[in-house]
Amino acid sequence: MSDINRTPETFDQNARAALADPVLHIALRNLADSFVVRRRNAIASVDDWEGLRERARAIKENTMLHLDEHLERFTENAEKAGATVHWALDGNEACEIIVELVRAKNARMVVKAKSMTGEEIHLNEALEKCGIEPVETDLGEWIIQLAGETPSHIVVPAIHKTKKQIADLFVEKVGIEKTENVDVLTQTARKILRERFAQAQVGISGVNFAIAETGTILILENEGNIRLTTSLTKTHIAVMGIEKVIPKFADLDVFLKLLPRSGTGQRLTAYQSLITGTKKDANDIGPDELHIVMLDNRRSRMLAHPVTRQSLACIRCGACLNACPVYQQVGGHAYGSVYPGPIGAVITPQLFGLSKSKQLPYASSLCGACRDVCPVKIDIPELLLHLRAEIVDGSATGPNERPTRKLGESIAFRAYSRMWSRSGMYSFSMRVARTMQTFVARDGKIGKVGSLISRLVPPLGAWTAWRDAPVVASKSFREMWRDKEK
């Protein structure tokens, strides 16, 4: 499947195409077994997982209430230690700042460590447009860069590709003999990317946490490419969303327990780099310059409402993707956004505009699996419903767009509501339904997709367009109870 034309607006089509793609299903088959089981085992090694989640959420919630102060403090401390902090209102500004920084170093190539924020602002495109070659160094990111695709998962970007596809890709792009041996493929990537690391003058990374108290940025990884990116280069550019800031150094304990366990089922990822400004002694190892690019990109708008504010607590672990029955079936590309899965369905509309991603809040059965696994207890179903309400009210769409709820639907729902809030009317309607349904029910279901009844009764039609309504039982529970009493 190519990425072209897949947008959040076409989720429905994308999902159907994904469901019909047998290769994608082979690629995704390990997701539930592997990540979900690993996560479950890893959280068992913590005494009070629920308590940790509560604490993490409380820290994030408190931080968001005073975000301006924490950002100021972080900036002050980071700059005191030699870093330069840049502010970007949106993706374009962030890209401009970064391109300028790279140009100032006369670099024609940059090594990049995986950053979802970098994906969000389409940094690679911006660099390429200015004649700068971005080299992704995370194995998964490198694979999808070779393939000319976008990531389909926050943590494992190439999860949508099978071993066989990757083997073919290596034959085509790298020119090695075909092999599906994962170790050989990995070592091939190591060798090629080592050469790029040896030449690189500028490195670009993301940030997992930024600590206000010390001005430190923390980046987690397993491969070592982030360490290479931030140790071998002369200039390190770190791009982060403003929500990544946390107040205290000691808070890291909570997040370092939660993030690896939730993301990959590890107690701790292989490496954490805690970087505070620039090196003290010019002879020390490491970059001479550290630039931190702070990105708003509509995040400050999410702060305004207590429901949407939750979105900013996300630590990008990917657990909700792995747990989601929708994501497990359709994969990440169907969401048409750099942020897929349940969290993507709530972040994408808020970052890029609800009117451009109206289908995403509906890309969920509201089963709540995402909420259950979220390490920072984001109530994703609540957020989805909030966004759905905004779509229906038309409040979140542009001023020129009309409300999307149809008049007929409104009247029908009001009538149903009036009728069913009185028990006599409810019983009567059920008796009527029981009689009527004999004409329309098939295989124990009413109003199969496309049937006459689904077109005749307006709300039922909308309901059964995507699901089956079960037939009304021949006797209600109350009637059965009465019969028993007799």
């Binding site: 409380a58 990757i166 190591r190 290479l228 000691a250 954490q272």
Partner: protein, 196 residues
Amino acid sequence: MPFDASRHEPLNPPEPSSALSGDSIVVLDAFMESLELVGAKCDIVESEYEAADRLVAIVKDLSATKIAISDSELVRRIVKVAGIEAIEDASREELFSSEIGITSAQSAIAETGTLVLESGAERHRLVSLVPPVHICVLPARSIRGSMAEILELADTDAHRTITFITGASRTSDIELTLAIGVHGPGKLYVIVIKDQ
């Protein structure tokens, strides 16, 4: 929210550090166990002489000839005792062709099997990263129980880069299959010296 996080203390209050006695035996065992869980090899030795013997054995095992070391005094001494030829302050090119990198660590975390490397104390950022094998020698008394203790002690002004290392470099990017040694070392050996 149920409570104000800023008023709460870290979950694991730091325990007083101690030399090897009582609690520290437990900590040492936990450290070794955690290292095994992440696939690292850990040896506990009684003295620097024993550490040197162990080092010779590992180098011989890997039949390595090109070895880079950090500027740690401890590492210098042990390499000298072992009679191993090693390059200190290796250039980038030398590092890229080295087979083993030997460093110390400023502390370690027992609960996760994590090495803590502080940039202000030792030039080990590249030696511990670039060669395919990393050997870390550290005194037992520097091992702490929990992450919370390490965070409590961290001095981010003195050490502008603090690196936590837990096991070898790894990835699951291809069909979630584990592969070791992507960009960093594929093998991690830890030698803990008791008498320090």
